[in-house]
């Protein structure tokens, strides 16, 4: 038994953690769960912000020990790895040969399984969509314990990826890596003095750059509402020197992290709990641009926050909520303006606000569509916890009503009635049908799935229903 939580530390709970180091171990666990009528929650690195990989008192299958890279072919750029391999390992493995994943998230501490279960996006979401689009094959295991191979030709492939571990476990995946001219990116920095300008720069930069991300100052108000910095980047055409490559490949802890020491109770980092301190930092960041153009290695560019391990602990004990609505392109400017204004009016100013542009991705659970997303980090002050939660609940309802979507990796608020607000009825039905085929016993669950009421067709917990679709898994046995 261990105490766990998501990255936001909001869902502290105790659970039985069972390390899974091979396929057979998972099969045995499934059998045991059936006999003892228990459910299983799959967990990678636990880097989802909310309760997606948790289950109070539940059985947690920890897939990190399944961490072998099974095959890497430089001629095709195809890499096959087990689900527990971390993105950091994977990136290092291929970068040495001049490759990089098509899509990476803002932290490299995640596992491949977790990344595909949520179908992560990166700073190039407007161009490359989601990680799932670069996958050529997955091997999965539903509740019957049979390993199946799924490729983009199988409809279920498009359902499993992004399925938040609710159909079963992704055991391994094959991904197409992209070739890089160098390990460095040419980064351009722009200062936007308003939200309107953010969008203008974004539209311009996303037309020909590979990556683009906006860092907003949540404190800026009035004319300056939404001001901040924008980083756009593309791979450098100038090949990396030995030293640059070595530096990129070497895991390191930044000097800043040593000074800020977020693990220490009274580390300097805890100053960030105070809104005033954050305000000054934002102001400095927005007003002082040291360079408007620089070269940066891809680890530093993509995984900026990894240089400060456990930075989220700065916000304990209240924890951190990330609220990330995905708003259709045309509405985004106005919607985000209102959202930022509402945050200020209620005195909930996010410690971090990150703007990204997305395009639709062909998966059943496409959380983005053609959208802009604004990821707002709210440190939770215990004395205002319930006000913050009801504020965010209100925003969720409002935004969903206006056609926004939300991402399970960040969510802590979605309720059963909300799924139908951003998933078409036919799609909901398809997901329900897939759940009944792959997991008729409702073996796979999570605190998030429970909260959202995501289960196989109504039946008594743990027992297959008479009359559910006769299981006919698509996909080839492995």
């Amino acid at each position: 038994m261990r105490r766990l939580s998501g990255f936001g530390m909001r869902d502290l709970h105790d659970a039985y953690v069972i390390p899974i180091d091979r396929e057979e171990a998972l099969r045995e666990l499934l059998d045991l769960a059936k006999i003892s009528r228990r459910q299983i929650t799959l967990r990678g690195a636990g880097q989802s912000y909310g309760d997606a990989a948790g289950a109070p008192e539940g059985w947690i299958a920890d897939l990190r020990p399944m961490n072998q890279i099974l095959n890497w072919d430089q001629t095709t750029g195809l890499l096959t790895a087990q689900a527990g391999v971390t993105l950091a390992t994977l990136c290092r493995h291929v970068l040495a040969d001049g490759f990089w994943p098509a899509v990476v998230s803002g932290t490299s501490a995640i596992t491949l399984g977790g990344a595909l279960a949520m179908n992560i996006h990166g700073k190039n979401a407007f161009r490359e969509g989601t990680l799932g689009e670069s996958v050529t094959e997955i091997v999965v295991m539903g509740s019957r314990g049979i390993a199946k191979r799924l490729t983009p030709d199988d409809r279920d492939f498009w359902i499993w990826i992004g399925g938040a571990g609710q159909f079963g476990a992704i055991l391994q995946a094959t991904l197409r890596m992209k070739r890089l001219p160098s390990a460095a990116l040419e980064v351009r920095v722009f200062r936007a003095s308003s939200l309107q300008e953010q969008f203008e720069i974004f539209e311009r930069e996303t037309a020909d750059q590979e990556y683009c991300v906006g860092w907003l100052d949540g404190f800026a108000s009035g004319e300056e509402l939404g001001r901040g910095l924008i980083h756009s980047a593309r791979s450098s055409e100038t090949p990396s020197s030995e030293a640059e490559l070595r530096r990129a490949l070497q895991p390191r802890r930044s000097l800043a992290s040593k000074i800020l020491l977020p693990e220490r109770r009274w580390g300097l980092g805890r100053m960030l709990q105070f809104p005033l301190v954050r305000k000054v930092i934002h102001a400095l960041k927005s007003d002082v641009i040291l360079h408007d153009h620089f070269r940066q290695n891809c680890f530093d560019f993509h995984f900026l926050l990894d240089a400060l391990p456990n930075w989220q602990k700065v916000f304990s004990p209240g924890g951190l909520i990330q609220f990330q609505p995905f708003v259709p392109w045309d509405d985004a400017l106005n919607t985000f303006r209102t959202l930022l204004q509402d945050c200020q009016d209620h005195d909930f100013v996010p410690s971090l606000a990150v703007l990204k542009k997305h395009r639709a991705s062909p998966f059943a659970l496409d959380y983005a569509g053609d959208s802009y997303s604004l990821a707002l980090d709210f440190p939770v002050q215990l004395h205002r916890e319930s006000q913050l939660l009801s504020f965010l609940e209100g925003q969720t309802e409002r935004l969903l009503m206006q056609g926004s979507r939300f991402y399970f990796a960040k969510d802590i608020l979605l309720q059963p009635q909300h799924l139908g607000m951003f998933l078409a009825p036919s799609l909901l039905h398809e997901l329900q049908d897939a759940k009944s085929r792959w997991d008729p016993e409702n073996l796979f669950t999570s605190a998030q799935a429970e909260r959202m009421g995501w289960q196989a067709k109504p039946n008594e917990k743990g027992s297959p229903t008479a009359g559910t679709v006769e299981p006919q898994d698509r996909g080839e046995n492995v």
Binding site: M1, R2, R3, D14, P56, E57
Partner: protein
């Protein structure tokens, strides 16, 4: 404060029942255990949405582990376990009854060990939790009245002291409560000054964030500090 998830073993009457009522009243989620289902139900009626009942005989120690797991699941976790089950059958001055004495040990000591070990395992693993054992001032000295009862409370106190010394580094609190006479069904037949359970429960709840042995009255703390030092030859001559 976040509501606590609490197990009270011996929650159908007396001190355990009162602790359940007071904890539920302040918002905690409580599971109560004891043999008599109807008595448990009566306690739960006080606040049915926050008090769950689990009929269980603590002498059936082999059933404890599975039940413990089920209860933790129902509660969604566990922050506090209170072991309050205890018996003190009447013993005549000339009575030396092995079966009766063993029965006392089975409830007051063996049951306590079974439940506290389960909680200790869990609390140590997660690095948090509070364990409370209801001992008694009766465990501080071997008085003539109820030899096995005194011995059982002494055993409980020493066992809990060991747990405390094992677990303090893991962030787990182990508390031994040493009440004097309480006004409960256990002492109905005794005529002496007794503390109302409502008062005792309140003091215990207030002391939940303090590790160690706790008397419920300052006078007891002082008196027993002295009594414990007295040589037996003197102690036995004191009128009680």
């Amino acid at each position: 404060m976040k509501p606590l998830r609490v197990i009270i073993v011996g929650g159908s009457s007396g001190l355990g029942a009162e602790l359940a009522r007071q904890l539920a009243a302040r918002g905690d989620e409580v599971a109560i255990l004891a043999r008599r289902a109807d008595a448990l139900e009566a306690v739960a009626r006080f606040q049915p949405d926050r008090i769950r009942t689990y009929p269980h005989d603590v002498t059936h120690t082999d059933e404890a582990a599975a039940l413990f797991e089920d209860i933790c699941r129902d509660l969604g976790g566990l922050d506090l376990l209170i072991y309050a089950a205890g018996i003190m059958p009447q013993i005549e001055p000339n009575e030396f009854d092995t079966e009766k004495d063993q029965a006392i040990f089975r409830v007051n000591v063996e049951g306590a060990i079974a439940w506290c070990n389960l909680a200790a395992t869990r609390f140590q693993a997660v690095g948090a939790g509070t364990l409370v054992g209801i001992g008694s001032v009766a465990g501080d000295r071997g008085r003539p009245g109820h030899p096995a009862y005194h011995a059982s409370k002494a055993a409980l106190a020493t066992y809990l002291e060991s747990l405390r010394n094992r677990l303090w580094r893991s962030g787990v609190r182990v508390i031994t409560i040493k009440p004097g006479p309480l006004d409960t069904p256990m002492t109905q037949h005794l005529s002496m000054a007794k503390m109302p359970v409502a008062v005792a429960a309140k003091k215990i709840i207030r002391g939940l964030n303090r590790d160690g042995e706790q008397y419920l009255q300052l006078s007891h703390r002082l008196i027993f500090a002295v009594l414990r030092l007295l040589p037996s030859a003197i102690f036995r001559r004191i009128r009680r």
